[in-house]
């Protein structure tokens, strides 16, 4: 059986190239990925070189009042001649940042607590007691509807972006505790954990290397989807009017929606609400699509399957035809090796 030369097969394919191929294999997640990249780059550009993408100031009043979308005003203007496109763009970095900040801190806080609660849950030990405390606290938070709790907290913590981000984060982490703990519980009883233990791997290292790696995949997917959910929640709070004020020097999508709906002009000039609404929609959609794609990329099983299916019509440079049999029929080689007359070095 012709074997590819050892030098080439020995090199595992780089994770970047696998990432790329799996993405390319699924048009929807590829679209999500492209959208997320565009959104991210745009947000950075708006922050760094605003005049490039934002033609008017957030509060700048132009002569065109209630103008429909045109080349001068891409998303039209409102009753005072403020450019809607500029406002939507200026809100992008803020809304994106809020999504990452809330989901990120919830991931870190909830993730760590979930790891502890899931892995060290032996009753009777100190950490076992801690895990009970974590879980009961989580239950308390989960028993409130999170949006209502976030609203109430915003009232207590005060108006503005910072307090409302904090408020959402406080209601957000318990979901991650539950998610991570559940995944850890499922993983920690699998035989390979015990196999690692038998090999002399310490408990902490088992947690970090074996458990975390296998929990990561659903958690990252959830995190990506969650950025969208946070955005919607923040926009809701902004819509109710307790998070951000519009019009202001720092616009925000939810507050924009709320403002134009409250002033009644949305009925006659729909672009006033369509533009920020579409911005929320596209951002949430992008992260949802990417999240689904990440699931495929992070799981070695689907990853290889995808990479293989695309390899036939898109052979990567480092894997020409010779690698075919090895990749396509692992079982065949596997069985073929039984009792082979190989050199048998004794260690």
């Amino acid at each position: 059986m012709a074997r590819p030369s050892p030098a080439r097969t020995a090199r595992p394919e780089g994770s970047l190239s696998i990432f790329w191929r799996v993405l390319r294999a699924n048009p929807l997640s590829f679209a999500g990925f492209v959208l997320v990249v565009i959104i991210g780059v745009t947000a950075v550009l708006v922050l760094v070189v605003p005049h490039l993408l934002v033609p008017y100031g957030p509060l700048q009043q132009t002569a065109a009042r209630n103008a429909p979308p045109s080349l001068r005003h891409l998303f039209g203007t409102d009753n005072l001649g403020r450019d809607i496109y500029s406002n939507v763009m200026l809100a992008l970095p803020l809304d994106l940042g809020i999504g990452f900040a809330v989901a990120g801190s919830a991931l870190v806080i909830g993730g760590l607590l979930g790891l502890v609660a899931g892995f060290y849950n032996t009753p009777g030990t100190l950490l076992g007691g801690l895990s009970v405390v974590i879980l009961r606290t989580t239950d308390v938070f989960l028993s409130f509807p999170s949006l209502i709790l976030a609203l109430a907290l915003t009232r207590v913590l005060g108006l503005g972006v910072g307090p409302s981000v904090l408020a959402i984060t406080i209601t957000w982490w318990p979901f991650y505790v539950r998610l991570v703990r559940g995944e850890v519980l499922a993983v920690k009883h699998l035989p390979y954990i015990n196999a690692a233990r038998a090999a002399g791997v310490s408990e902490n290292r088992i947690l970090l290397r074996h458990v975390v790696r296998n929990v990561l995949e659903p958690v990252i997917v959830y995190f990506t989807l969650d950025i969208g959910t946070v955005l919607v929640t923040y926009s809701t709070i902004g819509y109710i009017g307790v998070a951000s004020i519009y019009p202001s020097s720092q616009p925000e999508w939810g507050a924009m929606l709320a403002h134009y709906q409250a002033t009644g002009s949305a009925n006659i000039y729909p672009w006033l609400v369509l533009a920020p609404g579409a911005a929320i929609f596209v951002t949430v959609l992008a992260f949802s699509l990417l999240g689904d794609g990440l699931r495929d990329i992070l799981d070695p099983r689907t990853r290889r399957a995808f990479a293989r299916s695309t390899a036939t019509h898109d052979p990567p440079a480092e894997s020409p035809a010779g690698a075919g049999p090895a990749e396509e029929a692992p079982v065949a080689i596997a069985e073929g090796t039984a009792g082979g007359p190989e050199a048998r070095p004794v260690p």
């Binding site: 074997r3 590819p4 050892p6 097969t9 020995a10 090199r11 595992p12 032996t122 009753p123 009777g124 699998l190 035989p191 390979y192 015990n194 196999a195 690692a196 233990r197 038998a198 090999a199 002399g200 791997v201 310490s202 408990e203 290397r209 074996h210 790696r213 296998n214 070695p300 099983r301 290889r304 090895a326 692992p330 079982v331 080689i333 596997a334 069985e335 073929g336 090796t337 039984a338 009792g339 082979g340 190989e342 050199a343 048998r344 070095p345 004794v346 260690p347």
Partner: protein
Amino acid sequence: MTDPVLDIEHLDITYTVGAGTFYAVSDVSLKVFPRQVVGIVGETGCGKSTLAQAIPRLLPEPPASIGGGRIVFRGTDLVKVPKRQLPMVRGTGIGMIFQEPLNSLNPAYRVFDQIAEAIRIRHYRDMGWVKSFQGGDVPFDYSKPAASATVGGALVRSIVPDGALEEAARDRLRTRSEFRREVLEYLRLVRINDPETILNLYPHELSGGMRQRIMIAMALSEKPSLLIADEPTSALDVTIQAQVLTLMKELIDEVDAAILFISHDLGVIAETADMVGVMYAGRLVEFGPVAEVFRTPRHPYTKALLRAAPARYKADGRLSTIPGSVPNLSRPPPGCRFHPRCVLARDVCRGEPPPLAPVAGSVEGPEGHRSACYFADEVPGLP
């Protein structure tokens, strides 16, 4: 006589589940000598897997607890090792092959990483970078003496005598390629033909037999002096089973390790083991050389078990069974646990449990044939 690698004495293991206590392993004593293959047979639930996992202290404690007895491995009583120090003991001399090859490899890592992890731990321990367990009655005996702490740089090199240069090179933190070479060696040892390719595959890309080979390579890479194989072939289909068994039998000759082979398959044990222990309801009821135990069993349970094994080439008649059922281990019968199902049972069997005593006509010492039955002499006369 050499010292045994593993010396289990009067081991008791119980599981506490809710209010009930299950006496999973009771008063088991067993010796495994270097390069010996000891098989443990018994039906499901007789405590053989519990015994296997108790040796490297892999049982979750709680619910399991070791009530009494000693597990002496190369001079250290593993029962006395504090929980925190267990990782220091586990990878050092006891290799373990598990029942489920399908789930015993971490799906997220390539074959290389799985085996390299075991090698790396051994290497760190050899270098003295990882603390080693030194408790117990006798200091723990590692296969290699811990090397003196290494200091990088030319100064050390220059004061090293010429002959020791190779020694010094070995002490360096090894590079990935060096680990790779060693991993490849173990893959070849378990008869993997194309190790360069296999190295980069994920577990799900391998067949069951292949995965079990990787597991065996992992266990061997720790250079164990005792290899515990907990039903290594039970989850595989028959042809693959035969391949893995052949491999294990070949390895027995090549690797300097004693093997404790747990199985419910009498045929597998007969093929591989030197000595066999028969377990019933948590107790070791018979122990002796495989040929002797299987040809002339001296415990009524062994006799009944052998009779119940289906004959492969005959299809006529009903299969023979043992009347009655396995006792509930939360309330085991007093005395001999087999007495409710035993044709030889008399009053004495309900009193003190019979000790595992040498049978008449057998050689003395650890190579002898022993049976835990008061009427061992009457067993050969049974139908």
